[in-house]
């Protein structure tokens, strides 16, 4: 069985700090407004706290055997999950009624959405998944079934 990963406090704080910095930089760069910096900077304490919670939840899920402790799965599973959630909540702002979109137009709209939300979210999650403690080979003994 997989041993639950130990996450040192200094490590989780480093991750949270880097992620909140990255979020501010990426969000500001992709926005046109001058005030964006102030807005996203004021959000960064929230990002900081959310990141700490997120790291522990990921590790807890791995300990329960729901997530496979690997950089790819650590990134892909929550990323897809949050993509689905944000798309379901935010699509009314992107898709208008009675527009009869062609495939290309629909893809364009989805790309807009991706650049607005998925890109910053994905970069932050990628950073977290890389920086979480790697799993030692001797600890990842697969169950015998």
């Amino acid at each position: 069985m997989i041993k639950s990963q130990r996450l040192s406090t200094s490590r989780v704080f480093t991750i949270a700090l880097l992620v909140s910095l990255l979020a501010v930089i990426v969000c500001t760069a992709s926005s046109d407004s001058l005030y964006a910096l102030f807005f996203f900077a004021s959000c960064s304490p929230g990002v900081f706290i959310f990141t700490i919670i997120y790291c522990y939840v990921i590790l807890a899920l791995e300990a329960r055997g729901i997530l496979y402790p690997n950089v790819f799965f650590r990134f892909m599973t929550p990323f897809l999950f949050f993509t689905l959630l944000s798309w379901l909540f935010l699509y009314p702002g992107y898709l208008s009624d009675f527009q009869q979109y062609s495939v290309a137009e629909y893809l364009d709209i989805f790309m807009d959405f991706s650049f607005d939300f998925l890109l910053p979210m994905g970069l932050c999650m990628g950073l977290i998944s890389i920086m979480l403690p790697p799993v030692g080979k001797e600890e990842t003994g697969l169950p015998d079934s």
Partner: protein, 341 residues
Amino acid sequence: MEGSKKRNPYKTNIILLILISGLFMLSHVLFFAFRNTIDQPPLPGQYAGYLPLGAAAKSNALELKLLVGDPGERRKLFPPLRDPKTGMILLHALQEETNSTDVNVYYRIDANGTLLDSLRVEDYDISLNREYIIHPDYYYSWFLDGSSGRQEYLPVNKDLKLGTEALRQEYEALYKKATLVQFFGYQMLWGKNGVTEGDRRRFYDTKTDKVIFLIQNKWHALFGKDLEGMPGGEKKATLDSIKALNLDRLGVPNPYLYVANFHKESQGYQEWNGMAYLNLMLGKDTLKLKTEMTVKESEGEHPLNYHHQLQYFRDETMSFPIIINENYQCYILKSRSVKKL
């Protein structure tokens, strides 16, 4: 923890990934392949010939004429006023409000709906008293006679030589004869920046008020201390305002102006944006117009609640209605057959 012992995390994670991406693909199937194919029912053919609300809109019998307003201009247009005797209409547009001055533009429209001329007044403290455009230092009788020059008040007691009792008698004599009276307190008259030092010393320091009287189409100005406390008070009048049609229920058919059809185009937050097809009527003739509008669907008796800034003014005695749109452009609706005869 016994269950987790049997669980293969690799397999579980793969299944989870497939499940989430499956749901994600399902959402696209729903939005693109299903929801995207739903279309608004086509516009009935009878609405195809509706013209955009603007100066070019005309039918065989009616036409819309632009009186005042360029589309790019920022301005505010006050409701039109009408002289009951001559039928002339006065329009007041506040074109600009800056720190140094207000730009007021007045328009004169005759009883047949033709724009006669306009007057530009750039100053503070402009008010209207019946037909007169009043400033504390000068006035315009332009609406009556068309003269665009400033007119001076005929001064009474400007040298401030009358004593208290004589001033009171003078005031009462003028007040009896006057049809209109307006007061200006000394603080607003001489306490401003533009007043010369001599005037300030002479009038502000002696607390000299000013009262203007309209006597036989001439305005007289009486100067004196404590005039604001004199008996009688102001006599101010306004020209008749023109009755405005209540356009809150634009969806209900009436013989003036209503929305015949609304074509939804996109959904906003709790509302629909789209094109409204208007029937604008004069007598038995109808002018068919279209304009962009927003609609809120609400419960109750009148299900459609139109958001718009159209204004419609018409008195029973007027031969034409005045229509003001959301950009403060002023139109009149005229019958074309009358012009040919």
